[in-house]
């Protein structure tokens, strides 16, 4: 019962879907914090990604938003998440310019 609840609730958090009996504001705020933490894992895990964000925050943010929509979070190690993001960027010819790689 608990596993089933947690599975459905985490999907609701990640997808921004309502969940019966749960305050939608609290759920939405949690979703935003999860995204923020994921962003922080990436910039902490890869100095080139950190430099890319500093140099071109709009491009980085666009790429991150797309990545976050397509790839659900599965790691909490900064380097592991950063490597996944880098691999995703490479597969789409996105990512930091060569000067910060």
């Amino acid at each position: 019962m608990l596993k089933e609840l947690q599975g459905r609730l985490l999907r609701a958090v990640l997808d921004g879907e309502p969940f019966a009996g749960v305050d939608p504001d609290g759920l939405e705020l949690t979703r935003l914090v999860v995204k923020k933490l994921r962003f922080e894992l990436i910039v902490r895990g890869d100095s080139a990604m950190d430099a890319w964000f500093d140099r071109d925050p709009a491009a980085f943010t666009d790429a991150f938003r797309q990545y976050d929509r397509e790839i659900p979070p599965r790691s909490w190690f900064p380097k592991e998440e950063a490597d996944m993001f880098r691999g995703w960027c490479d597969s789409r010819n996105l990512g930091p310019p060569a000067s910060v790689k």
Partner: protein
């Protein structure tokens, strides 16, 4: 449960800028150090191993001769042990923790109450549990696993942006876990206050209903209100963001409740790395000294 009093501790974050900024607090003021063991690890080829901060903090240990305590986040003590992938993850976790404990001889280990993972997905921050007996049993089982490595284990009361059950009943739920797991409580006063601000509860009543004889450590920290623009409703909620000074309301709770915790061994002033600059360090040091006045060693 009574052990020696360690005093007022300070967190060692794996961040060289933070360690440099807080050097005086770390070296002069802190009586003990709190580390998140997961930040001393990295994954390589599917296995967890030490990262470079393990070595750096080991040098802190040898140079300072001060005690260390562990404060974990991602063990996800509210996740059932038969969840997909958990048996392997737990095995790796305990192996790494055992290695850390052999080095640091943690005086105790605490974990955040809640769950961070389900079906292989990560929330990264602890999410709330329903207050039923299955959740109590799951948390107690996982705390029992940690006890096999570090004998004194605590869990930290949560601050969550949403709840699944009546938040006014949270002290009863926490007390049920404390009894079932026969463990200690890390009483995070900012979390308690934040929960009471967001859910319109009386913080002193909330904390006063906890089994205070189980409190081994207290956390005090600051936070901030969420930007109204973040939510369509434009509602603002208090966040446990550790990004500001400790509010007076939290100091008042410390002053009132620390003397009522007969097994209290340590107080930690928390401040997240990256949320302050050199100009803020004197105020942070003053907070550590204020905690020492309220909880003399």
């Amino acid at each position: 449960m009574i052990g020696s009093r360690l005093g007022v501790g300070f967190a060692l974050h794996p961040d060289l800028e933070y360690l440099e900024l807080t050097r005086e607090i770390v070296e002069r003021d802190a009586d003990y150090y709190e580390v998140n063991p997961e930040t001393l690890w990295r994954r390589r080829d599917g296995r967890l191993e030490r990262n470079d901060y393990h070595d750096l903090f080991r040098k802190f240990l040898y140079a300072s001769r001060k005690p260390f305590v562990a404060h974990g986040l991602e063990f996800s003590i509210g996740t059932p042990t038969d969840e997909e992938g958990e048996p392997a993850r737990i095995g790796q976790w305990l192996e790494r923790l055992r290695d850390d404990h052999a080095t640091f001889r943690f005086a105790w280990m605490s974990e955040h109450l809640g769950w961070t993972t389900a079906r292989g997905l990560q929330a990264t921050l602890p999410l709330p549990l329903p207050h039923h007996s299955e959740a109590v049993a799951v948390v107690a089982e996982r705390l029992g696993l940690l006890k096999t490595v570090v004998p004194t284990v605590l869990f930290e009361n949560w601050a969550t942006a949403f709840v699944i059950d009546n938040p006014s009943r949270e002290p009863d739920f926490f007390n049920a876990i404390l009894a079932e797991a026969d463990c200690g409580l890390l009483l995070d006063l900012h979390n308690a206050w934040t929960q009471c601000v967001n859910f319109d509860l009386d913080a002193a009543e909330y904390v006063g209903r906890l089994d205070l004889a189980r409190v081994v450590q207290i956390h005090v920290s600051g936070g901030s209100m969420s930007e109204p623009a973040l939510l369509a409703s434009r509602r603002s909620m208090r966040m446990d963001s550790h990004d500001g000074p400790v509010p007076e309301e939290v100091w008042s709770l410390l002053e009132r409740f620390a003397p009522r915790c007969p097994n209290l061994r340590g107080v930690v002033v928390e401040r997240l790395n990256g949320t302050f600059g050199a100009g803020d360090v004197p105020a942070l040091a003053a907070e550590v000294r204020r905690a020492k006045e309220l909880f003399p060693c």
